[in-house]
């Protein structure tokens, strides 16, 4: 058995860190888009808008019911077959799209649950002072639902960061793709993947720390 090549690992760290912005960028873009889409889906589901509600249900069912990898291949390799304008879609865009659609389906359900969990009296109080339904949703219900949904949503964000690694299957050289290339040329697979694993791990830990701070802030109104 040979020892770990520590020098190689140390040298690899700065190389791989150069790809971290792309990984985090895709995750951040995906998260923002997914949150917007998920809020829309959740509001549609909660207000039971005819037709739209059925469509939202179908959407959620499909994107929760199929693997992210299958969805990515479907967008990147499959769709351009029929939609000519997608031929020029690049791997990064396809990944962000895939992450958005996939995770919005999950997030919509947790946001919906958070909204329905807010006490009915909050809605009535808002109505009683003459707020419209939209104002009630925006100013009273969603801010409170945010607090309830935040722990779950942060978990999805963490999951999303790790899921960006699937982009390498679409030929994107992000953190995972770069590691794969480095490993293939050095044959030091274990060292290379160990380094990338630790990088992901540290990123996620940092985020968990932020999550704790955020939850503490959001709970401020509920301290006795």
């Amino acid at each position: 058995m040979q020892a770990l090549n520590l020098d190689y690992m140390a040298g690899l760290v700065p190389v791989l860190l150069g790809y971290l912005p792309l990984t985090l960028g895709m995750a951040a873009a995906g998260m923002v888009c997914a949150l917007i889409l998920a809020c829309g889906l959740a509001v549609i589901r909660v207000s039971r808008l005819p037709v739209l509600d059925q469509a939202a249900k179908l959407f959620i069912s499909f994107f929760r019911g199929t693997p992210l990898l299958v969805q990515l291949f479907l967008f990147y390799y499959g769709l351009p077959q029929f939609l000519a304008f997608l031929v020029s879609i690049n791997g990064v865009t396809a990944t962000i799209m895939g992450l958005t659609l996939h995770f919005s389906a999950y997030m919509a359900e947790s946001i919906r649950a958070a909204i329905t969990g807010i006490d009915r009296s909050q809605t009535e109080a808002a109505q009683s002072i003459g707020m419209t339904n939209a104002q009630t949703m925006r100013r009273i219900i969603l801010p409170q639902a945010t607090r309830v949904a935040t722990p779950t949503l942060m978990n999805y964000f963490i999951d999303m960061i790790k899921s960006t690694s699937l982009a390498f299957t679409l030929g994107v050289t992000e953190l995972m793709g770069a590691t794969q290339k480095e490993a293939a040329s050095s044959f030091l697979y274990f060292e290379a993947f160990l380094v990338v694993a630790v990088i992901y791990w540290i990123v996620v830990e940092a985020l968990s720390w932020c999550q704790k701070r955020l939850e503490k802030r959001l709970n401020r109104a509920y301290q006795r």
Binding site: S121, Q122, E124, A125, A126, Q127, S128, I129, G130, M131, T132, Q135, R139, I140, P143, Q144, R147, R220, A221, Y222, Q223, R224
Partner: protein
């Protein structure tokens, strides 16, 4: 002026309100009493369409609404001309005392945040909670929360404030401060309809006391008359029950 005509509300087969007629002038205070489940709260909730009446007519100030066929603007209009104080306070849990009071002024009246907060501070002074401006509801006592709830209603400058058993959820120690605030409002000629079991309050403050039973108004009279000389047997029987606990007050 507030006028209700033939307000009827059914929950499925059950008729909760059976053609209620009621009117009050500006500055008048009506206290509604009666056994539980006779539609007192539902009546209040019909006035601002938290419940939708099945039939009847509503007039609040300059707005006249056919309760069976209200437009969207009618409902919003009624809610903006009335204010509601809830039994369980129903303060916005994520907003401070100040923000709870200012919310309507910002959203409905379109005031700037600064101006709304300045006015909300004046209201906090009036209800004696200026020092709690930045406290969240969870950190306040029941009595303080309900006073903020009343402050939120005061901010509406509504034609009428509707009180739905405002002291029923309170620990006994907080009841007095809430009633005191309501008396203060009464002294300022605030028009109100109050559903309550506080007979002493009704006796002291009401211009008219309405006794409801089975979804109908059984009897309506000034408190001096209704409490001393109730005409209907149902009123007498109800008053006997609720006043037997505090006999001295019944004299």
């Amino acid at each position: 002026m507030i006028a209700l005509k033939g307000i009827t509300k059914r929950f499925g087969e059950h008729t909760v309100l059976d053609g209620i007629d009621l009117s009050l002038e500006r500055g008048e205070i009506i206290v509604v009493i009666g056994p539980s489940g006779t539609g007192k709260s539902t009546l209040l909730r019909c006035i601002n369409f938290l419940e939708h009446p099945d039939a009847g007519e509503l007039t609040v100030g300059d707005l006249h609404v056919d309760a069976a066929r209200p437009g969207k603007d009618d409902i919003l209009g009624l809610r903006r001309r009335t204010a509601f104080v809830f039994q369980n306070y129903a303060l916005f849990a994520h907003k401070t005392a100040l923000e709870n009071i200012a919310e309507r002024m910002i959203v409905v009246e379109g005031l700037s945040k600064n101006e709304a907060h300045a006015r909300a501070r004046e209201i906090l002074e009036r209800i004696g909670l200026a020092d709690k401006a930045d406290a969240y509801p969870a950190a306040l006592s029941g009595g303080q929360q309900q006073r903020i709830g009343i402050g939120r209603a005061m901010a509406a400058k509504a034609e009428v404030i509707l009180f739905d058993e405002p002291t029923s959820a309170l620990d006994p120690e907080w009841v007095e401060e809430v009633l005191a605030l309501m008396k203060q409002l009464a002294a300022e000629q605030q028009t109100m309809i109050v559903v309550t079991h506080e007979m002493q309050f009704a006796r002291e403050v009401a211009d008219q006391v309405v006794f409801m039973d089975g979804g109908r108004i059984v009897e309506q009279a000034p408190p001096s008359e209704l409490f001393t000389n109730p005409k209907d047997e149902r009123t007498r029987s109800f008053l006997r029950k609720v006043l037997s606990g505090n006999a001295p007050a019944a004299t």
